[in-house]
């Protein structure tokens, strides 16, 4: 009997972990593209917030979730365009610009939210779990894997697609070269600037999608600072995953597990540790991860450096 209880607990835990990992999966896979091309975007947090807000606003206006997701992606990419202009075209310091965009993302979304939505307090319809015949009814696996909404399922597709594009297409090869030997790409007649813009746009589009998931597939409201550091955690995920999309998928799942554990243990009355310890878990694990899995060798060699044509 006891075993049955812990098994249900485990199934719920795994299901929640995947759900909570979803924004991280999108954002970190996007950041893999960006960093593979040599662009470190610490403005991910602000970008996700913009995605979350745009997704919420679009869905609140139209009631259409796919449209909301598209708006989230578009908002993220628009923000990414600003980042790309400053870091790639003007060659400004990527960290400084990223810090500015985090402030902007936090400020703009909070400003617009307080101006237009905060007094209404209205929630939106969010994406509902999709019941898959037979699979969802499986004893343990059903609860753990097959009672998610479509956005959560799509993370698998995005991870596989990202890996295929990055490793099996000429676009991916060139993109990776831009982060390692931009001069070689330049000499071969392709545009380093163009590829870096593309990489940043893919990255910020996915970050926007990750943010939009928070308002359209998880909570039904926008809250100021709803991302609560996920953009920064995604940066650490990329390091742990050694700049691989599939790796980013699984590392994000691990972080999703920390989030899920925190939430589920908080709900257990018998737990003696203060809930703040659990609350701090994802942040502490991020630091532990960075220290334990430092993969300096795997980092793109031109990460963070603007390309100077000579």
């Amino acid at each position: 009997m006891d075993d049955m209880i812990s098994l249900t607990f485990l199934a719920t835990l795994v299901g929640a972990a995947w759900r909570l990992a979803t924004p991280l999966i999108f954002a970190s896979i996007g950041e893999v593209f960006s960093e593979r091309a040599g662009v470190l975007n610490i403005g991910l947090e602000g970008t996700m917030l913009v995605g979350a807000f745009c997704g919420f606003a679009a869905a609140a206006a139209t009631g259409n979730i796919p449209l909301g997701l598209l708006a989230g992606i578009a908002g993220g990419m628009l923000f990414g365009l600003v980042f790309a202009f400053f870091t790639i075209s003007i060659k400004a310091d990527q960290i400084v610009v990223g810090a500015a965009l985090n402030l902007l993302g936090m400020g703009l979304t909070a400003f617009l939210f307080r101006t237009y939505y905060v007094s209404t307090g209205k929630g939106i319809e969010i994406a509902q779990p999709v019941h898959i015949p037979w699979l969802s009814d499986l004893p343990f696996l059903g609860e753990a894997f097959f009672r998610q909404n479509l956005i959560v399922y799509s993370t698998v597709l995005v991870a596989i697609l990202a890996a295929l594009v990055l490793y099996r297409t000429s676009f991916g090869l060139t993109l990776r070269s831009v982060g390692e030997h931009p001069k070689a790409v330049d000499v071969s007649g392709r545009s380093v600037v163009g590829y870096r813009y593309a990489a940043v746009l893919v990255g910020t589009g996915l970050a926007g999608l990750g943010g939009a998931f928070l308002t359209l597939g998880h909570s039904n409201q926008f809250v100021e600072g709803i991302t609560s550091g996920r953009g920064f955690i995604a940066l650490a995920v990329v390091v742990f995953a050694r700049w691989s999309p599939i790796g980013a998928f699984f590392v994000s799942l691990l972080f999703g597990l920390f989030y899920a554990l925190q939430l589920m243990l908080q709900a257990q009355a018998s737990i003696v540790v203060p809930y703040q310890v659990l609350q701090a878990l994802p942040y502490i694990m991020t630091i532990v991860t960075l220290v334990a899995f430092r993969g300096k060798g795997a980092a793109p060699s031109k990460l963070g450096q603007p390309y100077e044509m000579r």
């Binding site: 610490i42 600003v82 400053f86 003007i90 060659k91 400004a92 310091d93 960290i95 400084v96 610009v97 810090a99 500015a100 965009l101 985090n102 402030l103 902007l104 993302g105 936090m106 400020g107 703009l108 909070a110 400003f111 617009l112 307080r114 101006t115 100021e224 609560s228 550091g229 920064f232 955690i233 940066l235 650490a236 390091v239 203060p274 703040q276 310890v277 609350q279 701090a280 942040y283 502490i284 991020t286 630091i287 960075l290 220290v291 430092r294 300096k296």
Partner: protein, 364 residues
């Protein structure tokens, strides 16, 4: 012979004049760029207000000038400038060493926690001992918290950007734990610590204003850090490490030690700011003692061009805008978070104008 001498003298004179002219124009451009950056940000703020149905000109009339009403309101601006100058000047040192300490907010909180512990647990000391002791505790705690990220960077090459941000969240959660748990004042309805004993309070500058001596400490420390960076050999080493760690190592400098020092100085300044918030303003520890001073300090340092002396001015400016935004929220219901947008645009404009200046220099 005389003619040649004359010619040489003229050449030298004209060269000196040119050099003088060049320095002057560069100085003018250096001073103009931050001013232009602020104007661009204010214009953007006005546009944002106007687009959303507010009165755009409020940005100038209320946000910039609205908070200069009387002695009290000027005192409030200086009160807000205190943590901004402390944190901004400290971050100048870190940024000069290319250490991206984004964790001033957390360092401020840890400083506030330490100050509260020292200010509530000891009793019977003279104000001449207790008040400085509280400040020292805050600075040390901030330095230690920043030191964690510094150590992880030099020992494990863990990115200080990520670790300092994670330490921000951890410090905030720690504060929340302490004021709802072990440090909670049981008699209060709202989660808060006990009140600091009177001798631990930061002395006020003028008896009927909230303004305390922290503003003087902030200015003195900013000047001291300026001299440290410019005139001391340690400051020189920090800047060399920031410009080129490989060259610094080749020149026999200890990169790791310099990184730790830069990190700890910026952490100490933020921790001191936290101590002043508790001992000089709130007298108790709360969950939200800082409205984001630690993040605003980044904008302060960048607008100052990482010059601690200029951070006094940019800290004052951001404090003015923050006070003004409070007035604006009360008078016209404009969300106060507008300051975050303006901070972000200030940073972007500073970056853009710095590039413009480089282009102008190469053209000239």
């Amino acid at each position: 012979m005389a003619e040649i001498n004359q010619g040489v003298r003229e050449t030298v004179n004209s060269q000196a004049a040119q050099a003088f002219y060049r320095t002057l124009s560069q100085a003018a451009i250096s001073a103009l760029a931050p001013i232009a950056a602020v104007l661009v940000a204010l214009a953007f703020g006005a546009l944002l207000l106007w687009l959303n149905g507010f009165n755009g000109s409020d940005v100038v009339t209320v946000m910039v000038f609205g908070s200069f009403q009387d002695m009290r309101s000027v005192g409030e601006i200086l009160l807000k400038a205190t943590p901004l100058i402390l944190i901004g000047a400290g971050l100048c040192v870190a940024f000069r060493c290319s250490i991206w300490n984004i964790g001033a907010e957390g360092q401020l909180y840890v400083g506030a926690i330490a100050a509260t512990l020292v200010g509530t647990s000891i009793d019977g000391l003279s104000v001449w001992v207790h008040a400085p002791l509280v400040m020292l505790a805050g600075a040390l705690a901030g330095a230690a918290w920043a030191g964690i990220a510094g150590y992880l960077k030099v020992r494990f090459q863990a990115s200080e950007i990520v670790t300092t941000i994670m330490l921000n969240y951890i410090a905030l959660i720690l504060t929340s734990y302490l004021v709802t748990g072990p440090m909670r004042d049981a008699s209060a309805a709202y989660p808060q610590s006990a009140r600091l004993v009177r001798e631990a309070w930061t002395p006020r500058l003028v008896s009927d204003l909230r303004l305390h001596i922290g503003i003087l400490v902030a200015v003195v420390l900013a000047v001291a850090l300026y001299i440290f960076l410019r005139r001391s050999s340690r400051g020189f080493a920090l800047r060399v490490v920031g410009l080129n760690p490989h060259a610094a190592r080749y020149a026999g400098m200890n990169v790791a030690r310099n990184v730790m020092i830069a990190m700890c100085i910026s952490g100490a300044m933020a921790g001191l700011a936290g101590a002043f918030e508790v001992a000089g303003v709130t007298r108790r520890l709360y969950q939200n003692i800082s409205p984001g001073y630690g993040f605003e300090g980044i904008a302060v340092a960048l607008l100052a061009g990482n010059n601690p002396l200029a951070a006094i001015l940019s800290g004052g400016l951001f404090a003015t805008l923050r006070s003004g935004s409070e007035v604006l929220q009360i008078t016209s219901q404009v969300p106060q978070v507008l300051v975050l947008v303006i901070q972000g645009i200030v940073i972007l404009s500073v970056v853009a104008f710095a590039k413009l200046r480089d282009i102008l220099r190469t053209v000239a």
